[in-house]
Symmetry: none
Subunit: 423 residues, 2 copies
C-alpha cells in the first residue's frame, strides 16, 4: 500500500490558537483504506515554500487542503503547478460551473472568482457541490497529488464521496485490525524492557506505547491481506504479551481505569464512596465522568483540612496528632469511615502532599497514602509520585486509587506497584 | 528575525484522534520573540524520514519535540545526527544526571535509559529537571536545531526557561508587551460583536480571543520599538475595552477563575465548602488545584445520589420528592447545609443533568442549578448549558459556580449571565 502525506495550507493555521483538524478526518479515511499517513504539515500561503514542500514529499499520495479560494493569497494551484512543472490552464467548463453556482444564489460572480477556474494541466477536476473551489486530482508518475478545498464542510464530503472511491480503485485495500490495551502500576521503561523482546520481533503488527499520569496504553496494529490473517497475527503477539503483563493489564479494549472499576462494581451490585484530601474531588470527578456511574457511586467527603477529617468523618484528633494526616493510619481511617458513613461496599481514600510545598523528611512532596476499605478489612499503601507538579501528583494519585480499588475487588495483591514504597 | 519550523515526532500523533498541541505553545512563545513559524509538521518515529525532514527544513530555527525517550522507537537523536552529519556521543555527565534522578525516586535506572545519555556532537545539553530526557541545542552554520522532550509538562518549562533566553540573546527582539484578560458569563460571539469595533481599529496591538468551557481569554500583543510605546498602545486599547466588559472581566493578568475566587476569599479571611451532585468532585478538584487553597477551602460533600443528599446533608426527602434533586430549592438547600455543616463563610452547590441521559421536558439535559449560600442569604440560579457532552456540561458548571461565588463575594448581581435561564 502507498503512504500518504497531508499538507494543510493557510497562514492562519500557523498562529498559536488554530489547529488543523482536517488532517484527523483525512487520516481516519486514509487508514480505513489501509493507507498510512507518514507526515502531516501546515504551511502558510507562500508559493515558494509550498512548491518546495510538494517537491520534497516522499509519500505516493499527497493531499493538499486549502488555498483554493479566489483571493490573491490563495496560491496552492500555482505552487503545485510549479512543483510538478506543469501549466495552469483556464477551464471554460469550470468557470461556467462557478457562474452557475453564483446564479443559483442570485448573485453575480466576482471577477476574482475566475482564478478558481484555473486547472493544473492534466488534472481531473473534482466537482465540489458545496463551494466554488473544485478539487483537483493529478497523477504524476506513480504519485497522486490531490488539491482539496479547506473548509471542512466542503473537504469532508468531497474526499469521502469522490477521492475515497478513486483511491480504493487505484489501491485495493488490505485489512487493518487493532488492539488497544491499558496497563497500570508499571513504569513506561520497565514495561518496554519487559515487552520489547516480544514486539520488536514483529514489524507487523506495529506496536506503539503511550504513557501519562500513571497509565500506559499499548496499541497494536496489524495490516494483512485479510482480516482473519490480521487477527491471527494479533492473537499470536498478544498471547506472548499477556503473561508478561499479568494483573497489570487492566483493559483489553482501551477503556480507562474508571470505566473498568465501574464495570466490576456494577457486575457485583457493589457501591463505592470516597474520602479525598489532597485530590480535593479529582477522584470523585473521575468516577462520575462515566455516564451511569450513579449505579455504583453514592458520594463522598472532601476533607481537605485536618478539622474536616474530624468533623465530617470523625477521625480522632489524637490520631491526626500522632501520625499526621498523611499516614497509613489516617488513610485507613478515612476509607473505613467513608465506607461506613456512606453505606457503600467499598471506601477509597487519598491523603498526601501534592506540593509544591508541604511534606516532611520522611514523607516528602509527592508522598500519597491511598486506602481501600471493604467488608473484611481496610488497607492503605504508600506511594512516592514524582513531585514534578501538583496536578501530576494528583492525577497519579486518582489513577492509582482506582487501580487499587480494581485490585481489591478482584482480590489481586498490590505489592510492588510502580511508585509504591513501604511505609 | 529568523523563521522557525516545528517538527513534532511520534507515530501516535499520526492517528485520527491525536493532535500535536505542543506546536501551539511553541508558536506562541516564538511569536512573542518576533519569530514567525513557517511550517509545522508531524512525523512518525522513522529515522530516515525524520532525517530527511530536518535536512529539508528551510527555516533558520528548527524545533523538534518528542522521540527522546528511552525506548527503541525513540529515534530523534539518531535522525538529527544523520541529518547534520554529526556523531552521537555518550555523555557520562548526562548519564549521571539520569541515574541521580532515578535515585531521588528510590529507583534504579533501567539499562535502556542509557540511550538518553547520547548527545549529538557539539550540542549544548539543556537540563530537563522534570524528566529523564535532556534537551539539546545545536548551532549548525546559521541554523539552530533544538531537540526537546515531547511531554508538555517537560517541554513547556524547558522551552520557556532555557530556550527562550537563548533565542532572545541570539536574536534580540523588538519590544513586545502583552495583556492577558479573562471574561466569564458571556458567549464568544457576543463578546466579539461587542469588542470587535474597538480592536479591529488597531493592527498593533494584535488581539486574539480564545474560548472554552465558559471561559474567554483576550490576549493583546503590542510590538514596538520601545517598551514604553508598547505599553502606551495597550493602555489606549484597554481603556476602550474595559467599560464594554464591565463586571464580566474577572482577570487582568490571566489568572483562572479558581485563583481569582481564592484571592478574594483569602483577602477577606473567608472560607468556602462545596456540595456537588453532577460535577462529582470537579468543583472541589478545581478549587484545590491552586497551591495554598487550604487557606480558604475546608472541604465538601459529594452527594451524587438522592439518598446521599439526605443522609450526608439532611436534605428533607419530601423536598427531593416535590422538587426533584435538580431544582432551585434543592440547590439552595445543598449550599446552605454544606456551609453550615462545614462551618465556612460560603457554601456552593451544583446539581444538574450532565447527560447523556436524564433530564425532563422542563429541565432537559444540560440544565444545572448552582447555589451560593452566605451569612445573609442563599440564592440559586438555573443554567442551560449546551448538552454537547457530559464533560463539557460539568466543566461549564464548575466554572460558572466559581464565577457566581466571585460575584457574591463582590456583591455584583448575576442576572443575564450567558446560559442562565429563569427558573
Amino acid at each position: 500500500m502507498p503512504d500518504a502525506e497531508i499538507i494543510a495550507v493557510g497562514s492562519e493555521l500557523l498562529t498559536p490558537d488554530k489547529i488543523d483538524t482536517n488532517s484527523l478526518f483525512l487520516t481516519e479515511q486514509l487508514n480505513l483504506l489501509g493507507i498510512e499517513v507518514v507526515r502531516k504539515s501546515v504551511l502558510g500561503d507562500d508559493r515558494r515554500r509550498l512548491a518546495a514542500a510538494v517537491r520534497g514529499a516522499s509519500a505516493e499520495v499527497v493531499v493538499l487542503c486549502g488555498g483554493l479560494g479566489p483571493t490573491e493569497d490563495d496560491l496552492t494551484r500555482e505552487a503545485v503547478a510549479d512543483a510538478l512543472e506543469r501549466d495552469l490552464v483556464f477551464s471554460d467548463s469550470v468557470c461556467r460551473e462557478i457562474e452557475a453556482r453564483f446564479r443559483r444564489f442570485r448573485r453575480v460572480m466576482a471577477e476574482r472568482n475566475r482564478r478558481q477556474a484555473y486547472v493544473i494541466s492534466g488534472a481531473d477536476v473534482l466537482v465540489n457541490p458545496r463551494g466554488t473551489a473544485p478539487g483537483q486530482w493529478i497523477e504524476n508518475g506513480d504519485r497522486v497529488v490531490m488539491l482539496l478545498p479547506g473548509p471542512p464542510g466542503e473537504l469532508k464530503p468531497l474526499f469521502a464521496d469522490v477521492c475515497v472511491p478513486r483511491l480504493r480503485q487505484k489501491y485495493p485495500p488490505v485489512a487493518i485490525r487493532t488492539r488497544f490495551w491499558r496497563v497500570a502500576g508499571m513504569g513506561e521503561s520497565t514495561l518496554d524492557e519487559l515487552i520489547a523482546p516480544v514486539y520488536t520481533r514483529y514489524t507487523n503488527p506495529v506496536t506503539t506505547i503511550l504513557a501519562g499520569g500513571g497509565d500506559i496504553q499499548i496499541h497494536l496494529r496489524a495490516r494483512c491481506a485479510t482480516a482473519e490473517e490480521a487477527e491471527r497475527l494479533l492473537d499470536e503477539v498478544t498471547a506472548h504479551l499477556e503473561p508478561l503483563l499479568g494483573d497489570r493489564l487492566y483493559s483489553r479494549h482501551g477503556e480507562p481505569i474508571e470505566v473498568v472499576a465501574g464495570h466490576l462494581l456494577r457486575e457485583r451490585g457493589e457501591t463505592v464512596s470516597v474520602a479525598e484530601s489532597c485530590t480535593g474531588g479529582m477522584l470523585g470527578a473521575r468516577v462520575t465522568a462515566v455516564p451511569g456511574s450513579s449505579d455504583y457511586f453514592r458520594g463522598g467527603f472532601l476533607v481537605y483540612t485536618d478539622a474536616m477529617k474530624t468533623e465530617l468523618l470523625g477521625v480522632p484528633p489524637e490520631m491526626l496528632e500522632k501520625h499526621t494526616a498523611v499516614s497509613e493510619a489516617v488513610a485507613c481511617e478515612l476509607a473505613a469511615r467513608a465506607r461506613a458513613k456512606a453505606g457503600t461496599s467499598w471506601g477509597v481514600s487519598v491523603t498526601g502532599y501534592a506540593g509544591p510545598d508541604g511534606g516532611t523528611a520522611e514523607n516528602p512532596t509527592g508522598t500519597v497514602f491511598i486506602g481501600v476499605a471493604g467488608a473484611d478489612d481496610v488497607e492503605a499503601r504508600r506511594f512516592q509520585f514524582p513531585p514534578t507538579n501538583r496536578e501530576l501528583v494528583r492525577t497519579f494519585a486518582a489513577h492509582t486509587a482506582l487501580d487499587l480499588l480494581r485490585r481489591r475487588i478482584l482480590r489481586i495483591g498490590s505489592s510492588g506497584l510502580f511508585f509504591s514504597r513501604p511505609s
